[in-house]
C-alpha cells in the first residue's frame, strides 16, 4: 500500500516532460511537417501555400506564420487545429520575416522588390515599406523591439531599420551573399552570416563597428563547400549555432571568444536551426536530404535524422 501511495505521489509531483512540437517548412512539398519532439516522430503535415520557407510563432505561441514565396502571402496556421485559418498580405516573394516583440507587426523581406514590408497582423494589411538593398532575405529584430535588421543578398549589406519610424538607420557592408541575421540576447551585438564567403560577421550595435569575424573550417571540405546560413542564439547568450549548408554541419560557437567549439554532422544542406525551449536540443532542417537532425546538446551528439518531406527549409519549435 505504501508503495502504491509513493507511486501515486511520484506521478502527481513529477511534472510530465514538456511536450514540444517541431514545425518544419517543406519548400518543395508545400507543407509544414509536424514532428513530436519527445518521440522524434513525424505526426502530420499541414497543407500550406506554395514554396513555404520562413516561419515564426506569434508572441502568444498559438499561431504559426508561414511565408509562401510563390503565393505572395503569409499563411496563418492555428496550432491547436493544425490548419491554415487565415492569410496575411506580405508583398511579393516573401522569403523570411520576423514577428515584432509587441506581437502586432510582422517585418517581411520581399526578395524581388528590394523592400521590407511591414504587416499589421490584426488588420491584415501592409502599413508601410522600407527600401533596402537588392534581394533582401535575412530578418532579425532586437529583443527591445527598437531595431529591425535585414540582409540583402546581392548588395551584401545588412540594413538597420528603426522599427518605430520605419526609416533606415544605417547600412553595413558584410561578406558576400548575407543570408541570416540575429541579435545577441543582450542586444549588444548583431550577427550576420555570409553564404558564399562562409563567414559570420559580428557588429557592435551601439557603435555599428565590426567586432568579430568567424571563419569555418571543415576538415576535408574545400572552402567553397563551407557556407554559413541559419543562426540560432542560446538563451543564456553563451552559444550560437550556425548551419553550414553544403558542408552538412552545424557549428557551435562560443560567443565570448568567437571560436568554433565543435561541428555536428547532420543531413545534407542544413538551412535553419532551432533550439528547444529547455535549450537541450537543437534541430536542423536539411534541405537536400529531406530530413531534420536532432542534436543532443548535453551529450554533444546527433541522435537521429528523421525524414519529413521534400526540401525542409525553416524550423520552429512550439508548444
Amino acid at each position: 500500500m505504501q508503495t502504491l501511495i509513493a507511486l501515486v505521489l511520484v506521478l502527481i509531483l513529477v511534472p510530465p516532460a514538456v511536450a514540444e512540437t517541431i514545425y518544419v517548412s517543406n519548400e518543395q512539398d508545400n507543407t509544414v511537417a509536424v514532428v513530436d519532439r519527445a518521440t522524434m516522430t513525424l505526426q502530420s503535415a499541414i497543407e500550406v501555400g506554395r514554396r513555404p520557407r520562413g516561419m515564426a510563432l506569434s508572441v502568444d505561441k498559438k499561431t504559426l506564420f508561414v511565408a509562401e514565396g510563390d503565393d505572395n502571402r503569409i499563411d496563418v496556421v492555428d496550432l491547436a487545429k493544425r490548419q491554415v485559418v487565415g492569410q496575411l498580405p506580405s508583398g511579393a516573394d516573401p522569403e523570411f520575416f520576423v514577428v515584432h516583440p509587441d506581437g502586432k507587426l510582422i517585418f517581411v523581406a520581399n526578395e524581388n522588390d528590394n523592400l521590407v514590408s511591414v504587416v499589421d497582423i490584426a488588420g491584415a494589411k501592409i502599413i508601410g515599406t522600407v527600401d533596402v538593398g537588392v534581394e533582401p532575405e535575412g530578418m532579425a529584430v532586437s529583443a527591445d523591439g527598437r531595431t529591425v535588421a535585414c540582409t540583402s543578398e546581392t548588395t551584401s549589406m545588412v540594413h538597420l531599420i528603426d522599427a518605430g519610424t520605419l526609416e533606415l538607420i544605417d547600412n553595413l557592408l558584410v561578406d558576400t551573399r548575407p543570408r541570416a541575421a540575429a541579435f545577441s540576447v543582450d542586444g549588444k551585438q548583431l550577427w550576420v552570416s555570409s553564404e558564399i564567403r562562409g563567414t559570420v560577421t559580428v557588429f557592435d550595435t551601439a557603435t555599428r563597428a565590426q567586432t568579430g569575424k568567424i571563419d569555418f573550417e571543415v576538415p576535408g571540405i574545400r572552402r567553397e563547400g563551407v557556407q554559413a546560413v541559419g543562426i540560432e542564439m542560446s538563451r543564456d547568450g553563451a552559444t550560437a549555432y550556425v548551419a553550414l549548408g553544403p558542408a552538412n554541419r552545424i557549428a557551435e560557437i562560443d560567443t565570448k571568444t568567437f571560436t568554433v567549439r565543435r561541428l555536428y554532422l547532420v543531413g545534407q544542406r542544413p538551412w535553419h536551426v532551432a533550439l528547444s525551449d529547455d535549450q537541450k536540443q537543437l534541430i536542423s532542417a536539411n534541405g537536400n536530404s529531406g530530413d531534420i537532425s536532432f542534436i543532443d546538446l548535453e551529450n554533444q551528439e546527433v541522435v537521429k535524422s528523421l525524414p519529413v518531406g521534400r526540401g525542409p527549409w525553416g524550423v520552429v519549435i512550439g508548444p
Binding site: I221, N248, V266, G267, S293, V302, K304, S305
Partner: protein, 268 residues
C-alpha cells in the same frame, strides 16, 4: 565427466592460453596496432566528410570511422581466431595438444574449452581498441560496451570454431600466409565490415550477395547492432548456426579414429 575435473581442465587450458598470449608480446602489439592502422589511415582515406547514408542501426548520418569500427573489432577476432588455430597446429605437432587430447575428458569438451579460452584471452584487446576508438569520435552509448560483450563472445566462438576447422585440415604451421590469403582476406573483404551492403550492391550485385551470405558479415552486424543497443536476430541465428556447424565439423576433423587426421596417417 565430473564437474570439478572439467573445471580444472578448463582452468588449465585458460591459464595456458593466457600465458602464451602474454609471452607473445609482438603478437599482442601487432594485434592492437593492426585495427588502429586501419582506423587512422585506411578510414581517413574513405572519410566521407559529408556523412554516410543512414544504415541501421545508426539513426543518423555517420562518418566512415564510426561505420568501420565494429568491422575492425570483428577483424581483431578473426585474426585472433586464425592465429590461435595455427597455434593449434603447432600444439599438435609439438605434442602438447596430443597430450591435452589424451586427458580423460571428452574430446568435444577439450576442444570447446580450448575455443572458449582462446576467445576470452582475445577480448581485452578488442575492448581496448573500442575505447581507443573514442579518440576518433566513435562514441557508442556506454551501455553498448556491455551489450557488445555477448556479441563479441559469440562471434569470437564462431570464428574460433572456423579456425579449428581450418587447423584440423592443415598439416603444417607455416601455413599462416596461406590462411591469410585464402581465409582471412576473402572473408574480411567480402563482408559488411568495410562497406555497407548498399555500397557493395552499387559495386556489383554478386559482391553484395556474397557479403550477405558471408558469416563474417553476420558477426560484424551482430557486433555493430549490439554496440548501439540493438539486437539483430537474423545475424544472431546465422552466427549460432555457423558456430554449431563449424564446431561439429572440426570435431570430426580432430577425431584420430576417422576424419582428416586419420586420412593423413595421424602424423604429428
Amino acid at each position: 565427466m565430473k564437474v570439478h575435473h572439467a573445471l580444472r581442465a578448463l582452468d588449465g587450458i585458460l591459464r595456458r592460453e593466457m600465458l602464451r598470449s602474454l609471452r607473445q608480446r609482438a603478437r599482442l602489439f601487432s594485434a592492437m596496432v593492426r585495427p588502429l592502422v586501419w582506423l587512422a589511415i585506411f578510414a581517413a582515406g574513405f572519410r566521407s566528410v559529408l556523412g554516410l547514408s543512414i544504415t541501421p542501426p545508426y539513426q543518423t548520418y555517420v562518418l566512415y570511422e564510426v561505420y568501420v569500427v565494429p568491422g575492425l573489432a570483428a577483424m581483431m577476432l578473426l585474426f585472433h581466431a586464425m592465429a590461435s588455430s595455427l597455434a593449434m597446429v603447432y600444439d599438435r605437432e609439438m605434442g602438447s595438444m596430443r597430450l591435452l587430447l589424451t586427458a580423460p575428458l571428452p574430446r568435444w569438451y577439450l576442444l570447446a574449452a580450448r575455443l572458449l579460452a582462446s576467445v576470452i584471452v582475445g577480448l581485452p584487446l578488442v575492448y581496448l581498441f573500442l575505447f581507443v576508438a573514442r579518440f576518433w569520435d566513435v562514441r557508442p552509448p556506454i551501455l553498448g560496451y556491455v551489450a557488445v560483450f555477448p556479441a563479441l563472445v559469440l562471434s569470437g566462438l564462431m570464428l574460433g570454431a572456423f579456425g579449428l576447422l581450418v587447423s584440423s585440415m592443415s598439416t603444417q604451421m607455416e601455413n599462416f600466409a596461406g590462411v591469410m590469403n585464402f581465409v582471412i582476406f576473402p572473408m574480411f573483404f567480402t563482408s559488411t565490415a568495410l562497406y555497407p551492403i548498399w555500397r557493395l550492391a552499387e559495386a556489383g550485385p554478386v559482391l553484395a550477395t556474397i557479403a550477405a551470405w558471408n558469416p563474417f558479415s553476420s558477426a560484424v552486424e551482430l557486433i555493430r547492432f549490439a554496440l548501439y543497443l540493438r539486437f539483430d536476430t537474423v545475424s544472431m541465428l546465422v552466427v549460432v548456426a555457423c558456430l554449431v556447424a563449424f564446431f561439429l565439423a572440426s570435431l570430426a576433423g580432430y577425431d584420430p579414429g576417422r576424419g582428416l587426421w586419420a586420412r593423413r596417417g595421424g602424423e604429428g
